[in-house]
């Protein structure tokens, strides 16, 4: 009761005094935002506009390119390179699923079972970032080299017979096959899956597991009905962080693949840097971007995580 009666006389004092600092303070957030906004304008918005205009230009290297609103470039690019698009989505999709299957148990272990080893394992997850992406991918070239221990082991276990039959390896080779590219993608993007999964698992109140057990849920049912649904924000952000960069990636396909495993990223890179067909490259980039946006939107709608995040 005393707190209620004392409240009114306290109120007027704070209103009188901080009026002056508050007015100036109101603009501070905008000033703090300014560098970021400028950065986005110069390095994101302007290049996008520039790319968009490039994609509707015609001309040649010698005569120069002019904006002619030639939208046919989009159609031509799509009809010529649809297999690479499809392959990108497929490889990135498979790599994402593999990342989820590998990453979820690991994230679960770190969040609930690691105890004092938690930070050590987290550092190990991030450790690969201390080396260049390129070097790590090149290392996979050595790991999967023809006649190397990995290929030898897979061969003697007759795994390669199965994978060759499935068409994801070729005879006694793993390098320069779809399997190698997917392995590279999975490896390179695994931390982007583990970290968001870990964050959302770690936030789950341990008492919810106890409560589920108390309410007759066996451990696996507890996982299915409580843990997994509550980790959905992590699953969604993890799959997005893996799928989006993986579908635009070209390094893995370039270093570990062959001409038969070219992804759309490789095509864009070649168009821009070797063939110098800027309009096609720009159009391909926009198609890729639009495709990812549509897929991501559908995915988020489907997984219904809006109110969980």
């Amino acid at each position: 009761m005393t707190t209620v009666t004392e409240a009114p006389p306290l109120a007027p004092t704070p209103v009188e005094e901080p009026r002056r600092p508050r007015r100036r303070g109101r603009l501070v957030p905008y000033w703090l935002l300014l560098p970021g906004i400028l950065w986005l304008l110069v390095f994101f918005a302007l290049p996008m506009v520039y790319q968009a205009s490039t994609s509707v230009q015609t001309g040649s290297l010698e005569e120069g390119y002019k904006v002619t609103w030639h939208f046919a470039t989009y159609w031509d690019a799509l009809s010529e390179y649809w297999p690479q698009f499809l392959r990108s989505v497929l490889y990135a999709g498979v790599a994402t699923v593999l990342c989820l299957l590998l990453g979820y148990p690991l994230a679960y272990l770190i969040a609930f079972r690691a105890g004092r080893w938690r930070n050590v394992i987290l550092v190990l997850v991030i450790a690969p970032f201390f080396t260049s992406f390129l070097i790590r991918t090149l290392a996979w070239k050595t790991i999967l080299a023809d006649g190397g221990p990995v290929v030898g082991a897979l061969s003697s276990l007759h795994v390669l017979d199965v994978t060759s039959w499935l068409g994801i390896t070729a005879g006694e080779r793993v390098l320069a096959t779809p399997l190698a590219v997917v392995c590279g993608l999975t490896y390179n993007f695994l931390p982007f899956m583990i970290l968001p999964l870990y964050t959302s698992l770690e936030r789950i109140d341990g008492r919810l597991h106890e409560a589920a057990g108390d309410l007759y849920a066996k451990p696996f049912t507890t996982f299915r009905k409580v843990t997994f649904p509550l980790s959905m924000p992590g699953v969604v952000s993890g799959t997005l962080l893996t799928f989006i960069p993986a579908s635009g990636d070209y390094v893995n396909a370039d270093l570990l693949g062959s001409t038969d495993t070219r992804m759309v990223g490789n095509v864009i890179q070649t168009q821009f840097l070797r063939i110098l067909d800027y309009p096609t490259a720009a159009a391909l980039s926009f198609i890729l971007m639009a495709a990812i946006l549509v897929m991501v939107t559908l995915y988020i709608r489907k997984s219904g995580t809006e109110d969980l995040v």
Binding site: R207, G213, D214, L215, Y216, T221, K225, V226, L230, L308
Partner: protein, 383 residues
């Protein structure tokens, strides 16, 4: 009550964490259908005991039995026991209906609608079925937690400080509510709390725990009127404890000497061995004492215990006035006097005589900390 199939029996149950003993070997029987409270300050082992009954904690030694069934080795999901967790642990991704239906669905019951609706009616939440836990108030969440546990018709419902997160007014209301529900469904409730008033209001039987042991077990009135240790005397309400020497034992009465006063207490109410010359602690509750001004000392009837003193402090509470009396036997004697007819002379500095019926006096073993249980009450109040 005669049916013992639902009794909870703890035999020699204990729990140690490394070198720390949370619960010392403990034997406890909670009769079926009773409202049982485990009362104690934080860290006294009451929650650990509860969690061992639930199966969330494995006992280091001893067994837990429900009726004839030894459940010690059973995981929680196989025990016919449900828990209302401290801060509720409601599933945030499920709405009220699904939270309450959770236990039924796990046991493979298909048609849950009717049962869930009835249960939500019982806890007066019929309107909130499709809300998520975070859209509910603290009191409503608490009801969901109770409904979610009760719908399974457990043999025992365990409540782990279920009202701790609520404000005082709501807590009072929920105490009555829980008591009503318990009477209505007739399930055994084991309630863990640090709030002595809560335990006394709700429970039929209270076990007072201290440092991993049960200090005393009994009905609230029995514990209050006849505490067996200084911890219980101080933790449950307030007690005036006087260090005294046994003067003589005559029949069913013990006569003790404290400073210049002689006090009488019934031998049946003395939990300590009393032999002439030995020490005992004599206890009296502050509301049992009458206060008379020294000038009127002659009007006090014979046969009452009396002590003289000076009023050190008086605070008017409304229904009563609480006095602190400075006396030769105890320098902070608490006396609560009902405000029926107030004597204007009873102000700080006044010479007074405290007197009470010997039947209200109790005796305790002098070989214990006279202030045990005092600090823990204050700590809880501060927290």
């Amino acid at each position: 009550m005669t049916d013992t199939n639902g009794d909870v029996r703890l035999s020699g149950i204990s729990k140690t964490y490394g070198s720390f003993t949370a619960v010392h070997p403990l034997d406890l029987t909670v009769p079926q259908g009773s409202f049982f409270a485990l009362l104690g300050a934080s860290g006294c082992g009451k929650t650990t005991t509860l969690r061992m009954i639930a199966g969330l904690e494995e006992p280091t030694t001893g067994t837990v039995a429900l009726g004839d069934q030894d459940v010690t080795a059973l995981p929680p999901y196989k025990r016919p026991v449900n828990t209302v967790f401290q801060s509720y642990a409601l599933f945030p991704h499920l709405d009220v209906f699904e939270n309450v239906a959770f236990g039924l669905r796990r046991r493979g019951i298909k048609s849950v609608k009717k049962q869930v609706e009835e249960m939500l009616e019982l806890v007066q939440l019929g309107e909130q079925v499709r809300k998520k836990p975070h859209q509910l108030s603290g009191g409503q969440q608490q009801r969901v937690a109770v409904a979610r546990a009760l719908i399974n018709h457990p043999k025992v419902l365990l409540l782990d400080e279920p009202l701790g997160a609520l404000d005082l007014k709501l807590r009072r209301q929920m105490q009555l509510e829980l008591k009503r529900i318990q009477t209505e469904v007739g399930i055994t409730f084991i309630h863990v709390t640090h709030d002595q008033e809560e335990a006394m209001t709700m429970a039929d039987t209270v076990a007072v725990m201290n440092a991993g042991r049960v200090e005393q077990l009994g009905s609230p009135a029995e514990l209050y009127e006849n505490p067996q240790s200084t911890f219980v005397a101080n933790f449950l309400g307030t007690s005036n404890l006087i260090e005294a020497e046994v003067d003589a034992k005559s029949g069913d009465e013990i006569i003790v000497k404290a400073a210049d006063s002689k006090l009488v207490l019934p031998a049946a109410r003395c939990s300590a061995p009393a032999s002439a010359g030995g020490k005992v602690l004599v206890g009296i509750r502050p509301e049992k004492i009458s206060l008379t001004h020294a000038d009127d000392a002659g009007s006090i009837p014979e046969g009452r215990n009396r002590i003289t003193g000076t009023i050190a402090d008086a605070s008017f509470i409304g229904v009563s006035t609480q006095y602190v009396i400075d006396s030769p036997v105890c320098d902070e004697f608490a006396v609560y006097v009902q405000n029926i007819e107030r004597d204007g002379r009873l102000v700080p500095g006044a010479e007074v005589v405290l007197h009470w019926s010997p039947a209200h006096t109790f005796g305790l073993d002098a070989n214990q900390d006279i202030d045990a249980g005092v600090e823990s009450v204050e700590e809880e109040a501060a927290a």
